[in-house]
């Protein structure tokens, strides 16, 4: 289809980060097959995220969670015209190579799947397709950006329907950015040491007052009010995983979350969007999860 001429530059940082810029103010929905992808697109998703099982099922069924079957990803790409993202395991650069060869629009190197490498993340500069990565704090976000991530999502605690970790992580990241503002140069050296992140990047963020990439939030968003909360806290957009397809009426709930994300600052509209949605996903309180079952602690 493409007939790019030789002077064109493909896969640049600007192009990679740029797609995430276009997703801002939107909702990215987890889907496991083409049927769900279609429902998500019809409900107003800005993109869909393909994965083998939604996080709630990964939790309840256990076992190793991996990249989706390429047939399912092809089916999803075929079914929708909005961007298709897909998850690869942390450090599993071959899954990422496969996803790039399938021409997904974004790869999520995700803690929701079982990590393939407990030491190294993927060197994301090696790819033309952009990556989104999870982070629980600013240092983690900056390490992922240093490795080439073109978009960050705060992790939250996937598959719980409990928004408290998502709240904690977005507040932490934005709070740590705020704390950098106004620091002098000598203080920024120390900040870089404490954040375990490159000084140049820390200085850039202190000057700009924001990350150089788009920051979405994820992990436990289950209601229109949850989505509006994330937006009011300063997220650029939201990922909704199990919250949609583990609820009583996915299509209606998905559309309601889209409305609440756009009109996050209008309580009347969020109230209206919250009416009559049927059952939300049952959910698990994060405090009831034993530490080894907390996905947000994967990745570092």
């Amino acid at each position: 289809m493409s007939t790019n001429s030789t002077s064109d530059e493909l896969g640049t940082s600007r192009v990679k980060r740029g797609l995430a810029e276009m997703l801002k103010g939107g909702v990215i929905m987890d889907v496991v097959n083409a049927g769900q992808a279609k429902i998500a697109e019809d409900a107003g998703a800005v993109a869909v995220m393909a994965l083998e099982r939604v996080p709630a099922d990964i939790r309840s069924q256990g076992g190793v969670a991996r990249m989706s079957d390429p047939d399912l990803i092809d089916g999803i790409i075929e079914a929708v015209s909005i961007p298709v993202m897909a998850k690869a395991r942390i450090g599993h650069f071959v899954e990422a190579q496969i996803l790039q060869s399938l021409k997904v629009d974004y790869i999520d190197e995700s803690e929701v799947l079982s990590p393939a490498d407990y030491v190294n993340h993927i060197d994301k500069w090696n790819f033309s397709v952009p990556f989104v990565c999870g982070a629980t704090n600013l240092g983690e976000a900056l390490r992922r950006i240093t490795e080439g991530a073109a978009m960050i999502r705060s992790k939250g605690e996937a598959g719980t329907g409990d928004v408290s970790e998502a709240t904690k992580h977005i507040r932490t990241i934005l709070g740590e950015i705020n704390a950098l503002k106004g620091k002098s140069k000598d203080e920024l050296y120390v900040a870089a040491k404490e954040l375990q992140a490159p000084y140049e990047l820390v200085r850039e963020i202190a000057a700009a007052g924001k990350l150089p990439v788009v920051l979405f939030t994820a992990g436990g968003v289950a209601t229109p009010a949850d989505a509006a909360l994330m937006m009011q806290l300063g997220a650029d957009g939201v990922f909704v995983g199990s919250g949609i397809f583990k609820s009583g009426n996915p299509a209606q709930r998905a559309a309601a979350i889209v409305k609440a994300t756009t009109f996050f600052d209008d309580a009347d509209i969020v109230a209206q969007a919250s009416r009559g949605l049927g059952e939300a996903m049952v959910g698990i309180n994060v405090s009831d999860l034993a530490a080894p079952h907390r996905l947000s602690e994967r990745g570092w």
């Binding site: 600007r14 810029e21 276009m22 397709v129």
Partner: protein, 199 residues
């Protein structure tokens, strides 16, 4: 508004990179506001429809009663500039839309969504734009649309090396497949603001 030295311009803020457009317009001295309600639309003398996901903007604009007032504003001659998804929103005909996708229309064009393929085909390139003079504009195309048919009332402003049209104008309307709000080259925004001041 009419008579005021710096007319208020809006950027449709339902979804997408509207903040970047607001920043560029403010940098050029315009009083720029986000628009997602009819009352906000009524305050502006010109509108930018940003990059983003056209199918989502279409749905939300119809759902919240903004589509009809937007169409009326376009018909009444309000200057409107659409980038990427915004260009799709302005086109009379949308090719490869999602099922049931509509556009505001007004621009005598047929525009194809995602005309280059997947994100791997997104690219940057230099583009000659005669209306803006030298130097060429550095243009960023992200899952971009192209203008497949330029109708009798519209004019092509720029084309790729292969001839595909990526910038267009028609009276009060301006459209680009690419994103000048991302590169710091403000000439298209200045061109749009000149239309607003002349209107």
């Amino acid at each position: 508004m009419a008579g005021s030295a710096t007319p208020t311009v809006g950027v449709l803020a339902l979804q997408g990179d509207f903040r970047e457009h607001i920043a560029v317009l403010r940098q050029l001295g315009a009083d720029a506001i986000p628009v997602k309600r009819v009352e906000e639309l009524e305050r502006v003398a010109g509108l930018v429809i940003p990059g983003g996901e056209s199918s989502v903007m279409d749905k939300l604009s119809r759902m919240f009663g903004l589509a009809e007032p937007l169409k009326a504003a376009i018909t009444s001659g309000m200057p409107v500039y659409g980038t990427c998804a915004g260009l799709i929103m302005l086109a009379d005909t949308v090719l490869d839309g999602i099922v049931g996708q509509q556009s505001l229309g007004g621009f005598d064009l047929a525009v194809r969504r995602n005309a280059f393929g997947s994100q791997l085909d997104s690219f940057e390139t230099d583009l000659e734009v005669a209306a803006l003079g030298d130097p060429p504009m550095h243009a960023v195309f992200i899952r971009a649309p192209v203008v497949e048919t330029v109708g009798a009332r519209a004019t092509a402003l720029a084309s790729l090396a292969d001839g595909r049209v990526v910038a267009v104008e028609q009276d009060n309307l301006l459209g680009t497949s690419f994103h000048p709000e991302m590169t710091g080259d403000t000439r298209f925004h200045q061109y749009f603001l000149a239309k607003v001041k002349a209107a």
